[in-house]
């Protein structure tokens, strides 16, 4: 504490408590987020198998990755799942929110019903829908018992459409949240806007499309980011509902990474695959962050 005598406290010790309180954050940010990411990217250029080894093989792991059918299926599935989730949850979420915003009765009841799946884990969601979509007992069998003998609805056992079976469950779990976010956005719009539009004789749907939705831009952007960051993570749902099957038809990148890192003892492949996941997030997040924060700073 000698610097104290000099009149001014030593800079590092100024505001010391706040710095101590921030140590966990600084460690997490630097060691786990920055350090861990750099470590994984670094070792994705090695041929690590059971243990990480620093013997470099250049882009070999990536070449092998993009030549593996399992990975290609996983990427394709993620693309289909991602686009469908984005479109459907935005559209359904907005339509539900618009309906809920009509000063209806029992609003709380409806919202409770729409949102409760969001409280459930993906494992529970996946297992519930696995049972409902079970061809021997579920919807298919019920419809057949009604007399329509040739009715077929077995998405989880059909390699061509299995990802849509997962999509049904995913939408069931997540649209309630989107509806709530949209509703908060709709409620945030000044009621005078609606009155003005009505005075001008603009039809309701036009008011929504040309006035309200553009005004909801901040909420829409947030929603978009939430949906997008959820899509890349999709893992538990697939594990619970299909375990990646039939065959490898419902593999997703997150599952590929887990399998190669912890089951197949092929760390290098796992690192390369996870680096590709990171890359896809960067491609989505960087333009958004630039638009959102870069733009704001310029406007002051």
């Amino acid at each position: 504490m000698t610097p104290m005598h000099a009149g001014r406290p030593f800079r590092l010790f100024r505001n010391l408590n706040a710095k101590i309180a921030s140590i966990p954050m600084i460690l997490t940010a630097l060691v786990i987020f920055v350090g861990g990411t750099a470590w994984t990217v670094f070792y994705s250029f090695t041929n690590s198998k059971l243990l990480p080894r620093a013997s470099f093989v250049g882009f070999d792991q990536y070449e092998r990755l993009w030549a593996t059918p399992r990975w290609l299926v996983a990427v394709e599935n993620l693309a289909i799942y991602g686009v469908c989730t984005l479109v459907f949850s935005l559209v359904i979420g907005f339509l539900l929110a618009a309906l809920m915003d009509q000063k209806i009765r029992f609003e709380n009841t409806f919202r409770t019903i729409f949102l409760y799946p969001f409280a459930l884990s993906f494992i529970v969601t996946g297992l519930a829908w696995q049972w409902i979509l079970n061809p021997n007992f579920g919807i298919q069998q019920v419809v057949r018992n009604l007399g329509w003998e040739s009715f077929t609805f077995d998405p989880l056992y059909n390699a061509d459409i299995v990802i849509y079976g997962i999509l049904i469950a995913g939408l069931w779990q997540g649209t309630g949240l989107i509806m709530c976010l949209m509703l908060a956005g709709l409620r945030g719009i000044d009621g005078d806007i609606w009155k003005a539009a009505r005075v001008d004789g603009i039809p309701t749907w036009k008011t929504y499309v040309f006035i309200v939705i553009p005004m909801m831009r901040p909420v829409l952007v947030t929603t978009l980011v939430i949906i997008a960051s959820g899509i890349v993570k999709v893992y538990d749902l697939v594990v619970a509902q299909t375990s990646g099957g039939p065959g490898i038809a419902s593999e997703v990148p997150a599952k590929y990474v887990y399998n190669y890192m912890f089951l197949a003892q092929n760390l290098g492949q796992g690192f390369a695959a996870s680096t590709m996941m990171l890359l896809s997030v960067v491609i989505v997040v960087v333009p958004w962050a630039y638009l959102e924060f870069g733009g704001k700073r310029r406007h002051g």
Binding site: N15, T125, C180, A240, F262
Partner: protein
């Protein structure tokens, strides 16, 4: 000063249910002539009703399936209510269902999850709230940089950091233990929680903080005596967020624990998706419901607070 405090706190009420909007409407007073069965109303309520059925269906199917015996399941259809109600599947799921060689049911996973969730929630909120407070009121050079890194880091897929965290845990001797998983949940809960607390503390009037400083209160005194008592709502929101999030976690549980310490979600998945043995759908559904029960109860009890929490966290973040 008190008024200022109160003005700042109900900030979140903006996203609360809109009964206020209907009642606070300015304009012609008195009951509005309204036809109950207009075409518009039939459309609105009809659509909402059909959608509500779609959302309720899985829960209903799970409940009725878990109350049936296996012969009834094989014969009947999944939507029909049980002819003979039996609670045997629930008992079996809780105490004797098998995962591999262990046949002590979901109860082990349940208690593991409790032992993981309670310390994780406590630790992560304690650390993040102090941290958010430091960021909001005691800014120091460089703090914002680390905070930005932290928030941006929240977008990195967990898969990228899975293995480095394994190494860190192995180095400090916590790999495979419950406390290792607690640490992982604390780390990965930090971005959203710190953001939540920082924004909340920053919305409190600064005069309050300044007055306390003039009176000679330091970092911890202000936190414990002023910030903490004023921030009960945000703490409740954080607890709800963390309990449901940690209870529902699967990825971290399966990566960082061993079969003895598997949380409930992992054990549930192992029971239901077991390859060997005859499938007992009623036991599976009972087990699934048991696992979903904790977050469901929290959801139904906390009600509006849950909605406010996720809406406030999401819209502001």
């Amino acid at each position: 000063m008190v008024e200022q405090v109160f003005r700042a706190v109900p900030d979140m009420a903006a996203v609360a249910p809109a009964t206020s909007r209907a009642s606070g409407l300015v304009g012609p007073s008195g009951p509005r002539p309204r036809r109950t069965f207009s075409r518009r109303n039939i459309f609105i309520y009809g659509t909402l009703f059909v959608v509500a059925i779609y959302y309720l269906l899985p829960l209903y199917v799970m409940v009725v399936t878990s109350l049936k015996g296996m012969p009834e399941i094989r014969l009947g259809n999944i939507f029909s209510p049980p002819v003979e109600i039996t609670f045997e599947p629930w008992v079996k799921a809780w105490s004797t269902a098998c995962t591999g060689l262990n046949c002590d049911g979901l109860s082990r996973g349940f208690w593991n999850s409790v032992r993981i969730t309670v310390p994780s929630v406590f630790l992560s909120i304690a650390i993040a709230s102090v941290n958010g407070y430091a960021l909001a009121n005691w800014r120091f050079k460089g703090a914002e940089i680390f905070f930005t890194v932290l928030v941006v880091g929240a977008f990195i897929p967990y898969q990228v950091m899975l293995y480095p965290v394994v190494i860190v845990l192995r180095e400090i001797g916590l790999y495979g233990s419950l406390w290792g998983l607690v640490l992982v949940h604390t780390i990965f809960g930090m971005p959203i929680l710190t953001l939540l607390f920082r924004n909340y503390f920053a919305s409190l009037p600064e005069e309050l903080f300044k007055a306390a400083r003039v009176d000679g209160a330091g970092f911890w005194t202000i936190y414990l005596r002023i910030m903490l008592p004023m921030s009960l709502p945000i703490f409740v929101v954080a607890v709800i967020l963390q309990v449901t999030g940690i209870w529902n976690d699967f990825l971290f549980g399966v990566v960082y624990t061993k079969p003895d310490t598997y949380p409930m979600t992992v054990q549930l998945n192992n029971i239901v998706n077991a390859v060997q043995g005859v499938k007992e759908y009623n036991v599976n559904m009972a087990a699934t419901l048991l696992t979903g029960l904790v977050p469901l109860v929290i959801y139904f009890v906390s009600g509006k607070l849950f909605v406010r929490g996720i809406a406030a966290g999401a819209v502001k973040g």
